[in-house]
């Protein structure tokens, strides 16, 4: 008499019962209110299906109701971790439709603010990732530096999170007196501090083991699923909006685009995404240094009427936000209200790849993958 042992999942035999875990929306590592319905066989996931919409605030609908100038503070809420680039997306939309030329100094102010904001966002991503993998110290160290950037941005525009600094046609306020020296002094310390944060984690054996080779995204898959920003570059696709389609004054600056090479594991794994993001912080600070060096004199904002009415038509604006390529589509019917606004963000596409990536990962890996994609819930739902 022979005994047949069937593998788990094929029914009968020694198959174990699959467990359905409801991860989120109140789960410590879902970065806001994401929800995953995880089907797991013990610790190994069969499938993780993302369920979004818990932070949906209909920002696109709001845009149709509040007018061109009034929508600016709402764009802060699209991605409140890196609000400056969201501001910029909306300003660029309106400027393109209205045919407004932004003064040079205004553009430089935008770049300084946006790059500081990008560093700020990457720091939070870095810290939260450490926290998710179980290292508690990098989080506070990252926030320590982030708070200082927030202080700088607060001095620039009066708010720490929802900046509302940009206006259609430029920026709201010029750099305050002495701001340049302050930023340079900060960057001197900041670069050293970021180096130290990297040393604390990047080579740590446990950290590498947890991330290297986990959930690799090959370049073709990354492009097919529309990954954006550091997530795309980690997969070896050398594409940065600031380089490929230079908007604003990014043509004036020299900076490198960190691309994943699979240095510790496979190409496009969690470690590549982590290290790309960390290296981008240094590039941001490099851009800020150059911008401060080169900033010209002049007005910071073009003359824009208070009841701004751009011509009818539509436009598509793409810029590099902290979480990657941010697509703004805006249609105008020539009135003082936008006709339709659509925002496609990096987190949204990163979320959509999750179901395809999850089979075979462990539950602990899912946490690492969410963190490595740097998903921010408001940006997914808008």
């Amino acid at each position: 008499m022979s005994v047949e042992i069937e593998l788990a999942g094929e029914g009968g035999g020694l198959a174990t019962e699959e467990m359905v875990l409801n991860m989120g929306p109140q789960h410590p590592s879902t970065h806001g209110v994401l929800r995953f319905i995880v089907t797991a066989d013990g610790e190994v996931m069969r499938r993780a299906v993302p369920d979004i919409g818990y932070l949906h605030r209909s920002i696109e609908k709001i845009a149709e109701k509040v007018g061109w100038h009034g929508f600016m503070p709402y764009t802060d809420r699209v991605d409140y971790v890196a609000a400056m680039t969201a501001n910029q997306g909306w300003a660029m939309c309106a400027e393109r439709l209205g045919g407004i030329e932004v003064p040079k100094r205004g553009e430089y102010c935008r770049v300084i603010a946006a790059e500081l904001g990008r560093a700020c966002s990457h720091l939070l991503g870095f810290g939260a990732m450490g926290m998710d993998i179980g290292a508690i110290t990098p989080f506070t160290h990252a926030l320590r530096e982030r708070e200082m950037i927030n202080d700088l941005l607060e001095e620039l525009c009066g708010a720490r999170l929802t900046f509302n600094y940009l206006r259609i046609g430029g920026v709201a306020w010029d750099l305050p007196p002495g701001y340049e020296e302050k930023v340079l002094r900060f960057l001197d310390r900041f670069e050293l501090a970021v180096d130290e944060m990297g040393e604390l984690l990047s080579d740590n054996r446990i950290w590498v083991e947890r991330l290297a080779g986990v959930a690799p995204v090959p370049p073709a898959m990354a492009m097919a699923y529309g990954l954006a920003g550091p997530n795309l570059r980690a997969s070896g696709v050398n594409y940065d909006c600031r380089k490929a389609h230079p908007y604003s004054v990014y043509n004036d600056f020299e900076f490198d685009v960190p691309v994943g090479t699979g240095e510790k594991g496979e190409l496009g794994d969690c470690y590549d995404r982590y290290i790309c993001r960390l290296r981008e912080i240094r590039q941001s600070s490099r851009i800020v240094r150059q911008a401060i060096e080169k900033i010209p004199d002049g007005p910071v904002i073009a003359k824009v009427p208070r009841n701004f009415k751009p011509r009818a038509g539509d436009c598509h604006v793409v810029l590099e936000s902290a979480r990657g390529e941010m697509d703004w589509y805006c249609a105008s019917d020539g009135t003082e209200y936008p006709y339709r606004v659509h925002i496609k963000t990096g987190s949204f596409t990163a979320m959509s790849i999750m179901e395809a990536l999850s089979p075979g990962l462990m539950i602990a890996d899912l946490v690492a993958v969410i963190a490595s994609f740097d998903i921010v819930a408001p940006e997914v739902d808008r």
Binding site: G70, G158, T162, L201, D203, N204, R205
Partner: protein, 178 residues
């Protein structure tokens, strides 16, 4: 060989990490102990541009309703009426719902006198939503009328100076551009 390599790599990388965390014992704490153990109030350390709770100086409010129109969230309500006899604009109501306000600063930009402005006060917690509505007009008052010769009322001059300084700093974008 990679077996021993793994072990030495693990120990050396942990050694490095531990030395970084240990050096922290000799470094200062960066956090402050809000609110009671600070040498200066936080409010006093905030930059001038800080967007805190809104304040209105009724003495210099011209009743132009620019702020009400600029507010994207409709949290400002102003009732202004022409007094038939004196031909002056009378402010009957100037309410701001601070619970709704998103501190965007769009209202203070078009203000011609700097009457509506952000303070550096941010502690606004209260027990009910209603008490977060700031009602500035207690009794109807006449709106301020800028004089061509410059202000000379000693009661209003300092307030107007403050307002003008505020405008200077915040500079209505389109004015500064021209």
């Amino acid at each position: 060989m990679s077996y021993i390599g793994n072990i030495t790599d693990t120990f050396s990388s942990i050694f490095e990490g531990m030395s970084i965390t240990f050096s922290q014992f000799f470094r200062p704490a960066y956090t402050v102990q809000y609110p009671d153990r600070m040498p200066v109030r936080v409010q006093d350390t905030l930059p001038y541009r800080y967007r805190g709770i809104l304040e209105v100086d009724l003495e210099i409010c011209t009743g132009c309703l620019a702020c009400e129109r600029a507010c994207p969230i409709n949290c400002i309500v102003i009732d202004a009426e022409k007094n038939k006899e004196t031909k002056a604009l009378v402010l009957k109501r100037f309410d701001i719902d601070m619970a709704k306000c998103m501190y965007c600063g769009l209202c203070s930009e078009p203000c011609p006198t700097g009457s509506i402005h952000h303070t550096r006060e941010f502690e606004g917690s209260d027990y009910s939503l209603e008490s977060l509505v700031r009602r500035f007009v207690k009794v109807p008052v006449d709106a301020y009328k800028p004089k061509k010769t410059g202000e000379n009322d000693p009661a209003i001059v300092p307030i107007l100076e403050r307002g003008m300084r505020y405008i200077e700093e915040f500079a209505q974008p389109e004015k500064k551009a021209s």
